[in-house]
């Protein structure tokens, strides 16, 4: 029961009353069922009209395809008015809350809100959840959220030793959305920082410490709950003072022990928050992009850290729009930074709307005010990058629309050694793929024939078997032909094809056997950054056995230069 003299508003609220059968994980005996009679007393000298409503949060299946495929349910807040009750001066009225939740499944948490048409302090309340045997009873503090004893921070102990449950209950006592920050502290000084908790109007929610530990879910700074931690403190604060009430309920049904903590501390002015962009510096190659997120974090008077939490700035800007540009991600708090040109610049989140706090000396209440900050992150844009891959087997890469058979002497779209009897040519079909960070159309590819040799035998016009051993083609530039280069603007892949090979004849007569080797170097160079080049050496080897027939095992293409054996 609250001293009516410390109340400041004509509102009372309590969080987490029990109704019906408890969650089996709490360990109560089978058949346990709770009632929650709310007692309201009029301590004024006039009749007072009261308005009571029960709120509860359920987990419900998502009606739409979930954004996160692992999460197919969502929290839904409900509020059920129980009607108006007029209480005579000095009288006490009892209202059973549990009947409201009869038949409702998957209740996460529940709370009660009371408003009354009289001066603050006219109505006081008392709520106890008790089972049918009377062995288990839990007092639910009924408070004025704006009361003098409701300060800005909640600091409670928690313990999950020996299977005990420790659950933090938070309740929004206003008709507006509210946020709350929660940090768990461990005896060794470490902490676990929950993401910002959003509460719908009048919503009650739970933070189950044991479940949090078991989930091993990473907190906002990528920490996991220490597996050895079994006790500590929980510190929470509403973003806007006096909008949320909370309490830590610790239960051990097996030993019949229950504790409820709802102590507060006054940090108010000593809470400091600042905005920043994360990461603080970005870098990448021309054509790539990065994500930057607006965030804020702070510490209270006990140096307990809260956050960081995401926060949308009023706007996003970049100092040099030629070096980097910005585009939306669908989230106001996050922006995509597109790297356009080598250089350095800064991206800014402008006008982050932050809450500051001051102690109103007249009312001795902690009040909030808005202030605005800018935050920046440095952006370093490096020259574009390229990476060459060569394919000598199988099929061409999807997206490569070039065709080997565009060449008059080809008869296959496959990669690797090809014996084209119809055209009387042997080929080694290869595909080159250059992945660039910016724009394929801004790159030029050149090919050099480094060395080559063919040796074997051919039949001359007189039917003689004549040996040959010579260079296949003179070393030097060798295209590639534009007809076999695909590098359209706006794409990051450049493709090219080549099919080095040999005619079935050498000079005057048909070849009976041959070993053909060709070493080549391909170089891609950025048009915009002439010093940025990528080079690859490769070879083609064709072995024609007597017959003649192309030896598919000993004929191959590959990376690097090889001996002209």
């Amino acid at each position: 029961m609250v001293d009516p003299r410390i109340t400041r508003s004509n509102t009372l609220a309590g969080v987490h009353f029990r109704s019906g059968s408890p969650d089996p994980s709490e360990g109560f005996p089978d058949g346990t069922s709770f009632n929650s009679p709310l007692l309201l007393a009029n301590v004024s000298n006039k009749p007072v009209k009261t308005h009571v409503s029960v709120n509860y949060t359920t987990q419900e299946n998502l009606q739409m395809t979930p954004v996160d495929p692992k999460k197919d349910t969502e929290e839904k807040a409900h509020s059920v008015p129980l009607g108006d009750i007029t209480i005579a001066p000095g009288d006490v009225q009892s209202i059973e809350l549990s009947t409201t939740l009869a038949g409702v499944t998957a209740v996460e948490d529940s709370g009660v809100d009371v408003t009354y048409d009289a001066d603050p302090g006219a109505i006081i309340g008392h709520l106890t959840s008790v089972d049918q045997s009377g062995d288990y009873s839990f007092e639910v503090p009924i408070k004025d959220p704006a009361g003098m004893n409701e300060l800005t921070d909640g600091v409670y102990p928690w313990s999950i030793e020996n299977g005990a449950n420790a659950v933090l209950h938070l309740k929004n006592t206003t008709a507006d959305d509210q946020n709350a920050m929660v940090t768990l502290l461990f005896p060794d000084g470490a902490n676990y920082r929950l993401d910002l908790i959003s509460l719908k109007p009048y919503q009650s929610i739970t933070v189950d410490v044991q479940k949090l530990k078991a989930s091993q879910k990473k907190d906002v700074i990528k920490q996991v709950f220490p597996t050895t931690a079994v006790s500590g403190q929980v510190q929470w604060r509403p973003e806007t003072p006096n909008t949320v009430i909370g309490r830590m309920e610790q239960t051990d049904a097996k030993d019949g022990i229950a504790r409820s903590f709802s102590c507060s501390s006054l940090c108010c002015m000593n809470y400091g928050a600042s905005s920043f962009l994360s990461p603080g510096s970005l870098s990448g190659a021309v054509g790539n992009n990065g994500l930057v997120t607006g965030e804020y974090s702070g510490t209270d008077c006990n140096y307990v850290p809260f956050g960081p939490y995401v926060l949308a700035p009023g706007s996003w800007t970049v100092d040099s729009s030629t070096i980097a540009s910005l585009s939306g991600t669908g989230y106001y708090y996050q922006e995509q930074v597109n790297y356009l040109k080598q250089g350095t610049t800064n991206v800014w989140g402008r006008n982050f709307n932050l809450l500051g706090y001051y102690l109103d000396n007249y009312t001795n209440r902690c009040r909030s005010y808005h202030y605005y900050e800018d935050a920046s992150a440095s952006v370093t844009v490096n020259p574009p990058t390229c990476n060459i891959t060569l394919n000598f087997n199988g099929s061409k890469t999807p997206g490569d629309n070039l065709m080997f058979t565009s060449d008059f002497r080809e008869c296959s779209e496959g990669l690797g050694p090809i014996e084209c009897d119809a055209k009387q040519w042997w080929h080694l079909n290869m595909e080159g793929v250059v992945t660039v960070s910016d724009n394929a159309s801004r790159w030029v590819i050149t090919q050099q024939l480094i060395s080559s040799r063919k040796h074997g035998h051919a039949t001359d016009s007189l039917g003689n078997h004549v040996a040959f051993d010579q260079e296949v083609l003179p070393a030097g530039p060798d295209g590639p032909s534009a007809a076999f280069i695909q590098n359209p603007a706006g794409q990051k892949k450049l493709f090219w094809l080549d099919g080095p090979g040999h005619f079935f004849q050498n000079g005057t007569g048909p070849i009976t056997d041959m070993i053909f080797t060709m070493n080549l170097t391909d170089t891609v160079e950025s048009v915009d950054y002439p010093n940025v080049i990528c080079t690859v050496n490769w070879h083609a080897r064709l072995e024609v056995d007597f017959g003649p027939a192309l030896n598919m095992t000993s004929s191959f293409g590959g990376y690097g230069l090889i001996n002209l054996d």
């Binding site: 065709m403 080559s452 060798d478 000079g507 070849i511 060709m518």
Partner: protein, 200 residues
């Protein structure tokens, strides 16, 4: 006055016939037709005819019939006749060259460097198609005849013509490809035309 000029002109032409280059081109042409001499004579023929209209006209009157003859595509005489027709841009040879497209594509001519080795770049330059090279060297005058083959030829003929047009690479050549595009059914040719025209 008129009579005097006509006389002077007649004297100059007669002198040229007797002592100028035309008799040399005739002699070289005779050597060009000999298998044993053709590769030695061909570069001399080219050197003379490239700067001498009369020599060029002399060849224009004769090379088409050599090209249209039933000589084999492997005959160096035939290959040199084709090569010279292209180098000297002899438009009169176009019908004979187009007719020669019915023969297999072969390397040839006195300046050929082809020894059987291949890359797509070598192929794209028509090193292994002496007739195609000649038609490409003649350039735009070849386009109407090539366009007809592109419209009516079999896939191999169309593909061969595509590469000749690629080497001509003039607006007229591109227009011929563009005109063919709606009706082209061979995916390799269609894709190659689209790629060359920058459509994809």
């Amino acid at each position: 006055m008129i009579r005097t000029s006509t006389l002077v002109f007649t004297v100059i032409v007669a002198a040229s016939n007797a002592f100028g280059q035309t008799p040399n081109i005739g002699s070289l042409y005779d050597q060009l037709l000999q298998s044993s001499d053709t590769n030695r004579a061909a570069p001399q023929v080219f050197q003379i005819a490239k700067n001498d209209a009369a020599a060029r006209n002399y060849l224009a009157a004769r090379l088409p019939s050599v090209i249209a003859s039933n000589r084999s595509e492997n005959d160096p005489v035939w290959a040199n006749a084709v090569r010279l027709a292209g180098q000297l841009k002899i438009v009169a040879a176009i019908p004979a060259l187009v007719q020669a497209l019915s023969k297999p594509a072969v390397a040839g001519g006195y300046d050929s460097t082809a020894t059987g080795g291949y890359t797509f770049t070598i192929g794209a330059k028509l090193v292994y198609d002496v007739v195609g090279r000649a038609l490409a060297d003649i350039g735009d005058p070849s386009v109407p005849a090539l366009a007809k083959i592109l419209a009516n030829g079999d896939p191999d003929a169309r593909k061969r013509v595509f590469w000749i047009l690629v080497n001509i690479d003039s607006p007229a050549a591109k227009q011929a490809m563009q005109d063919r595009l709606p009706n082209e059914t061979d995916p390799a040719i269609k894709g190659a035309i689209e790629h060359h025209l920058g459509i994809r």
